[in-house]
Symmetry: C2
DNA sequence: GTAATTATACTCGGATAATGAGTGTCCGAGTAATCGGGG
DNA sequence: CCCCGATTACTCGGACACTCATTATCCGAGTATAATTAC
């Protein structure tokens, strides 16, 4: 079980965008250059974020991406789901349907107690991710690394 | 991000083993037939469980697998880790090392606040899984599906 | 000088290959039960 | 009848192919800017 690397890229990139004026769009090329990432592939991730309504895209010169809503209204979970998709890590294939004494009418994704246990854990994971907003991360970084906002802002404007 | 199907197989199989006398070994062939699974591949998963010390294996006639310790001492997390490996889903590649103002001496898997957020979520997930033991699942199933233990036991003995 | 028009360069967006983990299969090493023979 | 030894059949264990999601890349559609021309 391994999470896509794109999640890390998206999280860092979105956080970087919080330090820019809201009306300024940044093209993929600059966002990628910031961490020496392959621009075309980061673009793919940004597309996913755009489809999820987390960022908005503008084509043409002076175009690029910007946050579609305020950092307070973007959770870490939002970004993870946008990249990884909405499905849980554990996908019950309903083994019990193949076992003895199975009822074909029952949806074992609901009834199976193992499924329920895995689902509970997944919910706990999501709850933790949903509790963190971009704004919260931004504030924490500003407190712990005061130089970061200035560095980021100037690098992305250049 | 998708969990290996082997986790589901391993969980169901271990749970089935709780309904057999502790001194009885069951060969992979029977464990696999119970859910119409490919025996050789289930065997691979059982090997992982054996390496993790969750089940013990016995070769030769009348051999097979049995639980290596009591169901009270086996958590769902133990089984998940045995199959999926100990690593977290989110693997920080330390993007910040490639960014401006990076300190080469810093381990950003520790320092990066995004890593920390993802790590907290992972810990919550693991905590939830560690709270469930095989004995607990066994008891819940016995209460909700009283016929299950008998069915399982007889099918695996046959 | 101003406004309309054309040309241009830059952006995203989706369609198309390459890679690696996960999936599935096979055969060999080792062991316990079984069968046969001898005491 | 009991004991010992060789045989046999059965088990796990790791080594070997295959599939598909993830990763990575490229080129085309569309747009705002900038230059050009006419008035």
């Amino acid at each position: 079980m391994r999470m896509s690397e794109g999640v890390e890229w998206a999280l860092h990139t979105c956080l970087n965008l919080t330090w820019l004026p809201g009306d300024q769009a940044v093209p993929t090329a600059k966002l990628a250059a910031f961490y020496a990432l392959p621009a075309a592939y980061l673009n793919k991730q940004m597309q996913a974020l755009a489809r999820a309504g987390i960022v908005s895209s503008t084509p043409g010169p002076r175009g690029g991406f910007r946050l579609a809503r305020s950092p307070e209204q973007i959770t870490v979970l939002d970004i993870v789901v946008a990249i990884e998709g909405p499905d849980e890590a554990f996908r019950c294939v309903q083994l019990l349907k193949q076992g003895p004494g199975a009822d074909p009418a029952v949806d074992y994704r609901q009834a199976c107690l193992i499924s329920q246990a895995m689902h509970r854990a997944d919910m706990a994971w999501r709850r933790e991710l949903a509790a963190q907003t971009l704004a919260g991360l931004k504030a924490d970084v500003e407190q712990q690394y005061p130089a970061a906002p200035g560095n980021t802002s100037s690098a992305l404007r250049a």
